[in-house]
C-alpha cells in the first residue's frame, strides 16, 4: 500500500503484464504469457516483473541489479519502446503492459538478450586513454606533484555528457541502422569513442577516426535521432555520432593534403 506524500493510501491497481517467454531448448519461437499483477501506485515496471518472478512464476528470466537507473542491466521493450524498466513508472501505462526483450538483439532467454555483439563493438573503438609518449617521459603533462593531468572545467565539459553512458543498449534497439546493418558500430560505441576523442588527456584521435571510417562506419548513421530520444541519461549519442562524422571528414581531408605517418604502434 503506497500513498501520496499527503498520506492518504492509494490501493494497488490490477494490471495485466504480458511477458515474452522463450527457452531455446523448449520453444521454437518466442511466445507471450500474461500475468495479472496488483501494482502499487508508485511502482516501476521492474517492480511488477520482480513481483511476477517472486510470487507468480519463478521461471521468468531477466537481468537487473541496481534498481536506481545507473547499472544499465534492465533495458527492455515496454509497449514497443525501449525503456529502463527500473526508471519507468507503471502509472504511465494503462492496464495492459507488454514487455519484450530489447529489439535488434538475438534473444538468449525470455527477456535476456545476447550482449557479446555489443561488447565486441564496444572494444573495437579502443575506449581508453591513449598517450603518444609512455608514462615516464610524459611527466611534463602531469600536474606538478600530484601526477594527475591538468584539465580545465571547460575541457571536462567537452566530453562529460558522452561519458554518462551506462551501456543500457536502448539506443541500439531504437536505431534503424542497427536493425539493418549488423556491423554498424552503433550509437553507444561511437559516443564512447567520441568521448575519448574529446578528452583533452587523450591523443588517440587519429586511430579512432580510422576505425570510425572503417567497417561499420559512423557514416552509416542516417540521423534518425531516435537514439537520443530513448537515452535515459541524455548522453545524446546522435550528437556524438554526427560530431564524429564532422571530425572524420576533417581528418580525411587532412589525410589527403598531408599524408600523416601511420600512427599504429602503441596499443
Amino acid at each position: 500500500m503506497s500513498s501520496t506524500n499527503t498520506g492518504e493510501a492509494i490501493p494497488p491497481t490490477q494490471k495485466t503484464i504480458i511477458i515474452t517467454r522463450f527457452d531455446p531448448d523448449k520453444d521454437e519461437v518466442p511466445r507471450k504469457q500474461e500475468y495479472s499483477v496488483p501494482c502499487e501506485d508508485n511502482w516501476k515496471v521492474l517492480d511488477a516483473v520482480n513481483f511476477i518472478k517472486d510470487e507468480l512464476d519463478a521461471t521468468v528470466s531477466y537481468r537487473w541489479s541496481c534498481r536506481m537507473a545507473v547499472c544499465g542491466s534492465c533495458g527492455m521493450m515496454v509497449n514497443g519502446e525501449p525503456k529502463l524498466t527500473c526508471k519507468t513508472s507503471l502509472k504511465e501505462y494503462g492496464d495492459r503492459v507488454d514487455i519484450e526483450p530489447l529489439a535488434n538483439f538475438p534473444i538468449v532467454r525470455d527477456l535476456v538478450v545476447e550482449l557479446d555483439g555489443f561488447m565486441h563493438k564496444f572494444e573495437a573503438v579502443k575506449p581508453w586513454i591513449k598517450r603518444a609518449k609512455e608514462k615516464a617521459e610524459d611527466k611534463a603533462a602531469l600536474h606538478d606533484t600530484k601526477l594527475t593531468f591538468s584539465q580545465s572545467t571547460e575541457e571536462l565539459g567537452n566530453f562529460k555528457q558522452f561519458s554518462m553512458c551506462i551501456n543500457c543498449m536502448l539506443c541500439y534497439s531504437a536505431c534503424p541502422v542497427v536493425a539493418n546493418e549488423p556491423d554498424f558500430l552503433g550509437p553507444a560505441a561511437i559516443a564512447l569513442g567520441h568521448r575519448y576523442n574529446m578528452d583533452s588527456r587523450d591523443e588517440g584521435n587519429a586511430e579512432r577516426n580510422e576505425i570510425f571510417r572503417g567497417e561499420g562506419t559512423v557514416f552509416s548513421c542516417s540521423f534518425a535521432n531516435e537514439c537520443s530520444e530513448v537515452c535515459p541519461k541524455n548522453v545524446d549519442p546522435a550528437a556524438a555520432v554526427n560530431q564524429a562524422k564532422f571530425e572524420a571528414v576533417i581528418d580525411w581531408a587532412k589525410g589527403l593534403v598531408l599524408p600523416s605517418p601511420s600512427s599504429g604502434g602503441s596499443n
Binding site: 541502422v177 539493418n180 549488423p182
Partner: protein, 125 residues
Amino acid sequence: MKTLLLKLEPLIWFMFGQGILIGTILLTGWILVVGVLMPLGIVDPANLDYMRARELATASLFGVIPLGQLILAALLVLPLWKGAHHIRSLLVDFGGGERDGIVGGLLYLVAIVGSGMGIAAVVGL
C-alpha cells in the same frame, strides 16, 4: 563496391551536408516562383522571359565572380546529393543492408551524372 564506397563516405557525406543545407535554402525560392507561382499565373511568367532569365543566369559580381552561374550550379547539383544519400539510407532502413554497396553506388552515379549535366548546362550559358 562496398569498400570503394567506404573510402569515399566522408566526401559523400560532406556533399550530402551541403546538399541538404545549401540545397534546401536555394531550392525554396526557385520552386516557389518557377514551379508554383508562375505556372499558376499568380506571378506573370513574362517577368522571367528568355532575356530576363539569361540576364539573371549570367549575372556577375563586379564583372569577375559569375555569381549567377555559381548559385545556379549549386541549385542544380547539391540537391541531387541529398536525394541520392537519403534514398540510399531509406532503402537500408527497409532491410537493404546487404545490397547497400550496389544500390548506394548506383544512386551516387546518378548524382554524379546529374552534377555533370548541371555544370555543363550552367557553363554552356
